[in-house]
């Protein structure tokens, strides 16, 4: 019995040491898979908004992701009128109106193509569609394009920084 209790103690002692070691190494392993600080730091892009032309869809790049920038013409704005969901997504810089969004389908992340004639986006992967204001108009995408964090600075727009306009959109559930 005496031997047994000694073995029992040794077993428990080893178990405790091994348990601490296992948890500690899992923590280290998890942290080693995290995005590197350099990856996280390279997360800001500044756009000069005076460069865009009406109804021409331009793709910018932010954190390796495509950012759709569409300066809306009066015609597009007229179409959006009376649609509160579309109006809530509108980004106004100076006197111009823009659709600015992460250009990835909210289904599984393919890049939808802009169709100039129809004035909407079609995703080739699973057939999802978005209108010119970025709202999903055909499933499977569960919601409109996500809007990247932005801050309006005069005629410039900084992607990656949270400005009051973006915060308001987030608070109102316009974007995730």
């Amino acid at each position: 019995m005496k031997d047994n209790s000694r073995r029992g103690f040794m077993g428990k002692a080893f178990g405790a040491v091994a348990g601490v070691g296992a948890v500690a190494s899992l923590y280290a392993m998890k942290k080693s898979w995290d995005p590197l600080p350099s990856v996280k730091a390279a997360g800001f892009t500044t756009l000069d908004m005076s460069n865009y032309e009406e109804d021409v869809m331009i793709t910018e790049k932010w954190r390796g992701k495509p950012i759709f920038v569409l300066k809306k013409s009066a015609k597009v704005m007229k179409k959006e009128e009376g649609n509160p969901e579309a109006e809530a997504r509108n980004i106004k810089v100076g006197n111009d109106n823009y659709m600015i969004a992460i250009g990835l389908c909210t289904h599984l992340g393919c890049i939808p193509a802009f169709r100039k004639e129809e004035g909407n986006f079609l995703c080739a992967c699973h057939g999802g569609m978005f209108d010119a204001s970025g709202l999903a108009i055909k499933s499977p995408p569960p919601r409109g394009f996500d809007i990247p964090p932005f801050k309006i600075d005069g005629n410039k727009l900084v992607l990656g920084e949270v400005g009051p306009e973006y915060q308001a959109m987030k608070d109102n559930g316009v974007t995730l």
């Binding site: 990856v39 954190r63 495509p66 992967c125 569960p142």
Partner: protein, 404 residues
């Protein structure tokens, strides 16, 4: 201390130290295989040989492949294909074997389902086999990333996005898996590691478990007959080879096994030399571009059936059904409530279940390849619903099955 004597030869010297006689008996000459089997019982050996081809060709590819986003594409498409002597051979063997191995796995699986080889003590063979299927799927996916072409990049984007869990929006988890906001260097580096080290290790371990799981219940036979292996082995060893229901694994069974392997290898190398195109997607010969999605994204043929179960539904239901399709085969031994471990053709309704399942998975595969337009998306939708319905019906139809 064991008693060592002066050896009479190399064989005896080794036998005293490693018991090679005993090992040979246990693994080969006295490992008993039923006689009442057919060529479908050779698929296990065909898979072993295909895996060996993958390892050997992989070793040669590994010597020249560079796992960086700037050089990966060229190291495959220029260095290996144009500069390395016979580099094309290793690449085509590796690509063709990666595709064909799934064809053989599916044949092996459906053979097991047809003959009831997952029942009556053979459950662990089935479960370890399905774990191997998962490991091979992960190996195929991680390998597909490495040439860093357009299909590599976009398949990586789409598949890692699955981990966001639809409406759960676990974007942090997706970024953690990738090590970046999008597939980039960190992503390529870790999938390279998984492909050449961690997953192959897991596969080798699982193959050991799969073989080990066979030892006690032994291999099934064409009639699902319960054989007393000890009795039949004794009969064989006592000289009644014709009357015994079993034969030696080596050389008796192996010689027939290798005959099938020979036929298979002729077919395999015909593909490698003359028809490798099916394993090399043309879109993947464009370098990865994070700002341009290819017009059509579809997985390799062996993932199409489960992809088609994901596709027709909204994101959350699609993901749930996709996950269902991924795990449900593992549970087969427990969902099949019938005590009969006999071929499907003698099991009434189960025979219909089996053939409908087989044909439906081929239909799902075909629809997964076609663009998501009518009538294909409707057929795919009906097939996906049928797939789920069949699995839900399985416990019911098998519990009403009569004992044969």
């Amino acid at each position: 201390m064991a008693n060592f004597t002066k050896a009479t030869g190399i064989k005896d010297w080794l036998d005293q130290r490693l018991a090679i006689d005993k090992v040979e008996k246990v693994m080969m000459s006295e490992y008993w295989i039923p006689k009442n089997i057919n060529f479908l019982w050779a698929m296990g050996m065909v898979l072993v040989i295909t895996f060996a081809l993958l390892v050997v060709s992989g070793i040669f590819l590994l010597m020249y492949y560079v796992p960086t986003v700037d050089e990966a594409f060229n190291s495959v498409n220029y260095t290996i294909m144009r500069e390395v002597d016979f580099g094309w051979l290793w690449r085509h063997v590796h690509g063709v074997a990666a595709s064909v191995v799934f064809l053989i796995i599916y044949i092996h699986m459906f053979t097991g389902i047809y003959y009831g080889s997952y029942k009556k003590g053979r459950e662990m063979i089935w479960i370890s086999g399905m774990l191997l299927f998962v490991a091979f799927s992960a190996e195929a996916f991680s390998g597909y990333m490495l040439p860093w072409g357009q299909m590599s990049y976009w398949a990586g984007m789409v598949i890692t996005n699955l981990f966001a869990g639809g409406s759960l929006h676990a974007d942090g988890l997706v970024e953690w898996i990738r090590g970046d906001y999008v597939p980039a260097q960190a992503f390529l580096g870790r999938f390279f590691m998984l492909h050449v080290l961690l997953i192959p290790l897991a596969i080798m371990g699982l193959i050991g478990l799969h073989f080990g799981a066979l030892r006690i219940p032994h291999v099934n036979n064409q009639e699902g007959e319960e054989i007393d292996f000890d009795k039949e082995a004794k009969k064989y060893l006592d000289g009644d080879k014709a009357g015994s229901k079993v034969m030696r694994f080596a050389n008796d069974f192996m010689s027939k096994d290798m005959m099938v392997v020979g036929v298979y290898l002729v077919f395999f190398f015909y593909l490698v030399f003359y028809n490798y195109g099916f394993a090399m997607d043309p879109v993947n010969f464009d370098p990865a571009d994070g700002l341009k999605t290819p017009a059509h994204i579809y997985p390799e043929w062996y993932f199409l059936w489960s992809y088609e179960i994901l596709r027709p539904f909204g994101i959350d239901l699609g993901l749930i059904l996709f996950a269902f399709a991924q795990v449900i085969f593992v549970l087969l031994p427990f969902l099949d409530r019938s005590p009969n471990a006999v071929p499907a053709n003698r099991r009434g309704l189960f025979a219909i279940w089996f053939w409908v399942m087989l044909v439906n998975m081929i239909v799902l595969t075909a629809m997964g390849k076609l663009p998501p337009e009518d009538p294909f998306s409707t057929i795919g939708f009906v097939s996906a619903v049928l797939f789920v319905a069949q699995w839900l019906a399985l416990p019911i139809i098998t519990s009403y099955e009569k004992k044969v």
